[in-house]
């Protein structure tokens, strides 16, 4: 009797494995599809809403190269997930990756250099130089195609600006004066807040000032977080926080939603995707917002930084890197594909032509009163400063949250916090075994 039980169990296990063998193929990496003539399947891990509809267009036009989107949770966690999968040789053919994640993925040997596959296609000309530099890391290689971008702009409540007789600031000095003037006119309101929980925004503001946080020098990294441009930005915001000209509570909290909704905060420095956020967190204020270019350090300049944005990259595990590269270029430059993503997912395309295309002719519903919303955005996007990311952005960001968090709540010196971020980032790079210059 005992033996029979064992036999049954073994049989069950064996059939389980056999079953999986037939039904469980996850596609993409299977050896069976290496035959060049047959139709191939590309697996694509992504989170952008609306992507599936755009991919459907491709699949219709290219029956030989079928792309399957597998929806993932976005952000930093996906980077970890992809690196783990690549270690097991199971990474998908294509991944969506944020700009700042690219060096991490490259240093873990996850991403393929697709420059050869796209040679002579003119893909580079479709994008602004600042974005293209982020996907090549300033080398001859090409690791990803830009998908969407988040140029920083200045959002404000036009009704309240009018009520208090405020001018839209064009320089940061005017910005500071506006903040002070508002405090004088309405002590219960703030112009905006400095959020110590959003390192991405601070990074964007620093890029505008000309910061290049990570650069390579031969075989070693140079970290310049605590350098002149970033210090300027940190001191500026730290000063405003210290004199209580702006608020010091983080963004994306219920309290912040409340403050935007009630007009306790009347402006927001944010990226081009802000309308979507405002629509959900400050629903009552629809139609009362307007957008302007980001205040400048030099009067008359047109520089901005980026907050957010992502790319499409091809992995080393892909058996069909060339087809995957062609797809990545197509989905991020084809007008119809981009229009679909704009319509379905509300992304702001990275491709320059699409930024003034038909899909963006209408302003976002939340900014119905400002028909030239996307014209302004396209003008701002032209001046997007290049960003320079390194392999441990996550460490810099989490140190930023801690150091600036306590500095902001104590209204103390931001310079010391910045030095802390610099030191922690360098120390972590060295611990990981990278060579660090300087």
């Amino acid at each position: 009797m005992n033996h029979r039980a064992v036999a049954v169990c073994t049989a069950a296990l064996v059939s389980a494995v056999a079953l999986t063998g037939c039904g469980g193929d996850s596609g993409g990496n299977g050896g069976s599809s290496s035959d060049a003539s047959g139709p191939i399947t590309l697996e694509y891990w992504a989170w952008a809403p609306g992507l599936e509809q755009a991919v459907a267009l491709w699949n219709e036009a290219n029956p030989d190269v079928r792309v399957v989107v597998k929806n993932q949770a976005g952000g930093d966690d996906l980077v970890t997930r992809v690196v783990t999968a690549a270690q097991a040789g199971e990474a998908p053919d294509l991944v969506q990756a944020e700009y700042q994640a690219l060096p991490t993925l490259i240093s873990n040997d996850v991403l393929a250099d697709i420059s050869d596959h796209l040679e002579g296609t003119g893909t580079a000309e479709e994008f602004s130089e600042g974005l293209w530099q982020q996907v090549t890391l300033g080398t001859d290689a090409l690791y990803a195609i830009p998908q969407d971008s988040g140029p920083l702009m200045f959002y404000y409540r036009h009704d309240l600006f009018e009520e208090y007789g405020l001018e839209v600031p064009t320089t940061w000095d005017e910005f500071a004066d506006t903040a002070r003037a508002l405090r004088d006119a309405a002590p219960d309101r703030y112009l905006t807040t400095f959020s110590a929980q959003d390192a991405g925004l601070f990074a964007g503001l620093s890029q505008q000032a000309g910061a290049q946080w990570w650069t390579t020098e031969g075989e070693s990294w140079r970290v310049a977080i605590d350098d002149e441009p970033t210090r300027r930005v940190a001191e500026f915001w730290g000063g405003l926080v210290a004199e209580d000209a702006i608020h010091n509570e983080p963004m994306y909290t219920p309290a912040w939603n409340q403050a935007l909704n009630t007009g306790e905060q009347i402006a927001w420095v944010s990226a081009v995707w802000a309308p979507g956020v405002l629509a959900s967190s400050a629903e009552d204020t629809a139609g009362q917002w307007a957008v302007a270019p980001l205040p400048q350090w030099e009067a008359g300049g047109n520089a901005t930084g980026s907050w957010g944005g992502s790319t499409t990259a091809v992995t080393n595990d892909s058996d069909h890197a060339e087809a995957a590269a062609k797809f990545a270029a197509w989905i991020n430059t084809d007008p119809e594909a981009l229009a679909t993503m704009v319509r379905e997912g509300g992304i702001y395309p990275a491709a320059t032509a699409a930024q003034t295309g038909d899909a963006l002719a209408e302003p976002p519903a939340f900014f119905a009163d400002q028909p030239d919303f996307y014209e302004i955005a396209a003008g701002v996007a032209e001046g997007t400063a290049p960003a320079a990311w390194g392999p441990n952005v996550n460490v810099a960001y989490s140190t930023f949250n801690d150091a600036f968090g306590s500095a902001a709540s104590a209204r103390s010196d931001f310079g010391a916090a910045l030095a802390e971020v610099q030191n922690a980032t360098v120390a972590d790079l060295e611990r990981q075994g990278f060579r660090v210059a300087g």
Partner: protein, 307 residues
């Protein structure tokens, strides 16, 4: 968690009459009262601590998107049905696919692991064989090992045999539960008397028959516990499916809700959907506890042998 919590509130009511007959006796006067007051207060606090988040989920799920952050926290909103239908409509009802997946992983996984625990626990408790103690010690070490740190090695192993990304990759690792085997062994040793097993042998029953007809019924309350523990653990498991699965048609509910929360910087997180989804996700657990609870009371009746 939510189901275990109400118990302290009952204990925390008025000072139980049983206290009066406590050994301390009447001369101590106020002392036993004060002792009872402090634990009651602590338990009450504990109950609040456990219940407030559940209450929050319950109330927040009734709020429509615009009410979520603008109305008073514990004021019920008006959007419950709207939220549920939004959730059901999201990407053609993928939420219910996740729910079904969770039920599959937790149901089948917990059943299989209970079966394995029953076999292994019974064998370890009833038979003497060489290496028994070392097997048991290895299992004990497994109990101390948090499953989280095993997830990545398990993923690499699954990838080796080509199972990564399949449903099996989530099911197989949970089948062997060291804690379940440990519990089943302890329970079998305590609840299945050797005398009964011996008399079964004398009457000529085979080992399988003895296990099935004598051991299994006596172990049932213990096995129900193992099943519940495993079911809840698998239902709430996040990291293992997160590492193993890439196809969102196979996601369990924990993972699905996580994707709703992380839609990238440009899309606002779908808070109302996630909150409503979390509420619906704990309902099956509560129902399971209520249904299965009665098996626990078998305890006293099933294992009685007069000696």
């Amino acid at each position: 968690m939510s189901v275990g919590a109400p118990a302290p509130t009952v204990a925390a009511g008025t000072p139980p009459p049983g206290d009066r007959s406590a050994p301390a006796g009447p001369p101590a006067g106020r002392r036993p009262r004060r002792i009872a007051l402090l634990p009651s207060a602590v338990l009450l606090l504990g109950a609040l601590y456990c219940l407030i988040p559940v209450t929050w989920v319950l109330i927040a799920s009734t709020k429509a998107g615009r009410e979520l952050f603008s109305t008073f926290t514990f004021l019920p909103g008006t959007g419950l049905w709207g939220n549920i239908s939004d959730l059901s409509a999201y990407r053609d009802g993928v939420y219910w696919t996740w729910m079904a997946n969770s039920a599959l992983y937790a149901g089948v996984g917990a059943l299989l692991s209970t079966a394995v625990s029953a076999f292994a626990g019974y064998a370890l408790a009833m038979y003497r064989f060489r290496g028994r103690e070392s097997i048991f010690n290895v299992l004990l070490a497994g109990v101390l090992m948090p499953p989280v740190i095993l997830a990545v090695p398990q993923y690499l192993l699954m990838a080796q045999v080509g199972l990564a990304g399949t449903r099996w990759s989530v099911l197989l690792p949970v089948v062997l539960s060291p804690y379940g085997i440990y519990l089943a062994r302890i329970y079998a040793a305590a609840a299945v008397p050797r005398d009964v097993v011996e008399s079964g042998r004398i009457d000529g029953a085979g080992e399988w028959r003895i296990f099935r007809s004598i051991g299994l019924p006596m172990m049932l309350p213990g096995l129900v516990t193992v099943f519940l523990f495993q079911f809840v653990a698998i239902w709430n498991n996040f990291l293992l499916p997160y590492i193993m699965l890439s196809d969102d048609e196979r996601f369990p509910i924990t993972l699905g809700l996580f994707t709703l929360l992380n839609q990238g910087a440009s899309a606002p997180a779908l808070y109302t959907l996630v909150i409503t989804g979390s509420l619906l996700a704990i309902l099956p657990l509560i129902a399971l506890f209520l249904v299965i609870q009665r098996f626990w009371s078998l305890d006293l009746l099933s294992g009685a042998v007069k000696s």
